[in-house]
Amino acid sequence: MATATQAPSRGRRFRINLAYPILIAAGVVAALPFIWMILGSFKTGAEIRHIPPTFLPDQPTLDNYATILQDDNLPLAIFYRNSAIVALANVVQVLFTSSLFGYIFAKFEFRGKNVLFWFILATLMIPFQVTMIPGYLILAKLKLINKLWGLIIPAAIDAFGIFLFRQFSLSIPGELLDAARVDGASEFRIYRSIVLPQLGPALATFGMLTFMFNWNAYLWPLIVLTEQKVRTLPIILTWYSNQHSDQLHLTMAASVLVIFPVLIVFMFTQRWIVRGITLTGFK
């Protein structure tokens, strides 16, 4: 008996001891690109051009950040605002439409329901790259090119969101809805006061994923927003990087200012994001 319990615990200890050095080494490698970028942002222009490159900055400086923040061609506040408007607007509307239509598909019968739902599922198989060209032409017809609306209006419906919230709505007890009807609540009131609270955790999870997806989006904004002042952060960052290809100290400072503030917020909300990914396989 004693040997039977000792043997596995010895095995476990051995495994754990080996796991730590491997994970720490892998973690350092994984963190290196972030660290390298941050270190670069504190180097002077002369030092960053030094051959061979230094690892730690010799004379750490904040000048690069000052240069970026004082650059009139790079009003970061405006680009932050643009990104925030698009991401927040899309989170709000996608959560609204996904939960409303998901609920309707789960709890109501109407003519054409199955065809419509099948169509919505089918659109999930169509890659964005197929519809982006006509999508651009439609926006051009609607005069929405170079407008933030161009990133918001075509994003009102999320097929995957509707599918997801239909699944979640199926488990809402029908008695709960009927009781509210007997009490004289309007159908919209029932959606708002009974269905939405039931979907709360799913709304938080899917909302975080939608925000992140929109905040980091690149290809579609690159197509729709060609004028400087309406651009969102990822596009302005690549524009700046191309303009300053031989001033990496400035590019790195700009990258840090664009990436990190929101990355840190995301880091604290990763619990929801991880849950969303593992729950849905969302990508």
Partner: protein, 338 residues
């Protein structure tokens, strides 16, 4: 459902006064009021782009020409039938540039996806097992480190790695100097002559950046799947004296098989659509060695204004993705037995 007398009275009254019919009508109004805008909206922003995108592939279309009345098709933007698709089958040396670029695009995209998949799994599966094996407080810290790149914008990742791979200022050549003693300014992203196993080094470089960003997805999925393996199975194996190595190959991997297969399909589908990192790091270079299909579509549609051709290429990309989606659906319908 138990109704209070007051509720019963109310319900009866409602029935008498025809309110229950009113209820039905209210539900109908609610559904119609919500579904009709949805149908209208999807007709314009979902169905129209799908049909239009497919139609464009059969035209020589440029947004610069006004063309015919219906969606600008016809007239100056003539119908060319299957010409775009026929041109894709021209494998001769005299094939036009866009056709050769398309061939390179298909080849590079497949190469990219088939390299990403095994490399991704070779890192994420063991990493998930290792993270699961450490003390629970440290689990979160390690997971965060490997998951953080998922949360960062791809263009930021590309700029970071562009700096790591920079010939004169990059970390990689710096580290090589420390190890080898002499400084060599290897242009990892720009030198088309660099090859490894017949595969361009620049392609490996963008794959490294892509993997670094993408690992976290599969990692958290595998960690969740590992947590769902019953503790009793692992305990039984340990009591039987199974080594960690055997445990991984004989127990963990077979139990994770459904998750692994589905994740493999998702990983393939998303790597077929790679764009951001490559566009920023190499723009498809050097010498088109990282020219993937989406880059091709973007360039021809929005830089060279040849949207008909770009639409035809996007249809091919769709077919590639679609074939994997079908496998995915098969897998989802499979019932796994343990």
């Amino acid at each position: 459902m138990a109704l209070t007398p007051a509720k019963k009275y109310q319900a009866a009254l409602a029935g008498l006064l025809g309110h229950s019919q009113g209820r039905d009508a209210a539900q109908k109004r609610f559904v119609a009021g919500a579904i009709s805008p949805l149908v209208l909206y999807m007709a314009v922003f979902t169905l129209l782009p799908m049909v239009w995108g497919l139609a464009l592939a059969f035209f020589e279309y440029s947004a610069r020409r006004s063309g015919g009345r219906l969606l600008g098709l016809g007239g100056d933007n003539p119908f060319v039938g299957l010409q775009n698709f026929q041109a894709m089958l021209d494998f001769s040396r005299e094939a036009p540039l866009e056709v050769r670029l398309f061939h390179i695009g298909v080849k590079t995209t497949l190469l990219f996806a088939f390299l990403v998949l095994p490399l991704n799994f070779a890192v994420t599966l063991p990493l998930a097992v290792l993270i699961e094996s450490v003390h629970s407080r440290l689990k979160g810290i390690f997971r965060t480190i490997f998951f953080l790149p998922v949360l960062a914008p791809a263009v930021g990742v590309a700029i970071m790695w562009g700096y790591v791979f920079h010939p004169q200022r990059g970390l990689l050549n710096g580290i090589r100097t420390l190890i080898g003693g002499t400084y060599v300014a290897t242009a990892w992203l720009r030198d088309p002559g660099l090859m490894f196993l017949g595969i361009p080094i620049a392609l490996f470089a963008v794959i490294v950046a892509y993997l670094w960003q993408d690992l976290g997805y599969n990692l958290v999925i595998f960690i969740a799947a590992l947590q769902s393996i019953p503790e009793s199975i692992k305990d039984a194996a340990r009591i039987d004296g199974v080594s960690p190595w055997q445990m991984f190959w004989r127990i963990t991997i077979p139990l994770l098989k459904p998750t692994i297969l589905l994740t493999a399909i998702l990983t393939m589908i998303s790597s077929f659509q790679v764009f951001d990192i490559i566009q920023v790091m190499t723009e498809g270079g050097p010498s088109d060695q990282t020219q993937v299909l989406v880059l091709n579509i973007y360039d021809y549609a929005f830089r060279f204004q040849r949207m008909g051709w770009a639409a035809a290429v996007s249809v091919v990309l769709f077919l590639m993705i679609f074939s994997f989606s079908i496998i995915q659906n098969r897998l989802l319908q499979t019932e796994w037995e343990y």
